[in-house]
């Protein structure tokens, strides 16, 4: 797919599998083309979704809207399930619509030990779980990741 810019970047030279310069069929100007990736799944954790997959994201959306459009299908995990009436009252807040979604899983705390914005800007509400992160980093270092995953999925970390 064509993209604006990129001229002057070393990436064009270093990664010819991904970048190529072509001539525009309209005016003959040079255009950088980038190989596109189509994910089989976008997997997105949100604050609110209904049982059909309509999903709202509170705070920064990062690239998540683009990921859901690029992927073949999206899997949503959500802090809480809300009634579809909530979505209908303000459809403009729906970041990911139901027809892009194949699965909705209710997973409160589903971003832990990372952060999930809950509307509060207080510093203590926007910190990672330090003990959880240290347990993960220790498991990676000591090659005990499967033991860590067994514990964390049973709520023992």
């Amino acid at each position: 797919m064509p993209v604006g810019g990129m001229f002057g970047s070393d990436l064009l030279e270093y990664n010819p599998d991904f970048y190529s310069i072509m001539k525009s069929p309209f005016n003959g100007e040079e255009v950088v083309c980038v190989r596109s990736l189509q994910p089989d799944w976008a997997i997105v954790h949100v604050q609110e979704a209904d049982i059909y997959g309509n999903a709202r994201i509170l705070g920064s959306k990062f690239q998540d809207i683009l990921l859901s459009r690029a992927a073949k299908k999206t899997i949503i995990t959500t802090e809480k399930i809300v009634d579809t009436e909530v979505m209908r009252k303000d459809p403009g807040l729906t970041a990911i619509p139901h027809f892009l979604v194949a699965a909705v899983v209710e997973a409160p705390g589903g971003a832990k030990p990372g952060i999930c914005f809950n509307g509060s800007f207080a510093p203590e509400d926007n910190k990672a779980d330090d003990a959880g992160m240290k347990a993960y980093l220790k498991a990676v270092k000591e090659d005990t990741v499967q033991e860590y995953l067994a514990k964390v999925t049973e709520g023992r970390v």
């Binding site: 990436l11 990664n15 991904f18 990736l37 189509q38 994910p39 089989d40 799944w41 976008a42 997997i43 997105v44 954790h45 949100v46 049982i51 059909y52 997959g53 994201i57 705070g59 920064s60 990062f62 690239q63 998540d64 990921l67 690029a70 992927a71 899997i75 995990t77 399930i81 579809t84 139901h98 979604v101 194949a102 699965a103 909705v104 899983v105 209710e106 997973a107 705390g109 589903g110 971003a111 832990k112 030990p113 990372g114 952060i115 999930c116 914005f117 990672a128 992160m133 993960y136 980093l137 498991a139 990676v140 270092k141 990741v145 499967q146 995953l149 067994a150 964390v152 999925t153």
Partner: protein, 102 residues
Amino acid sequence: MLKKLMSMAEAVDLVKDNQLLALGGNALHRTPAAFAHHLGKANRKGLKICGAAPGYASDVLCAAGSVDTIYFGFFGFENEYGLAAGMRKGCQSGKIRAVEGS
């Protein structure tokens, strides 16, 4: 509209070996960690990860040995937690191919 509510185990079963995944969020913010914890236990092989700034959830899949290729701009946790440890270990051991595009 179709009802799509299901258990974590049912959703994890949708992901097959060798598929390309794009996990949402950024670094330590709103990544699908619980999903990654369950998928990491499921012994998938050959998964590929793409994203602008993959973080914790993507790193869990790398650390679990499920990933063979990553396409990314920045892959890390930021602040005191540094680079993504599982990704780094996988790349250093040659098990993961890194395609960096920032």
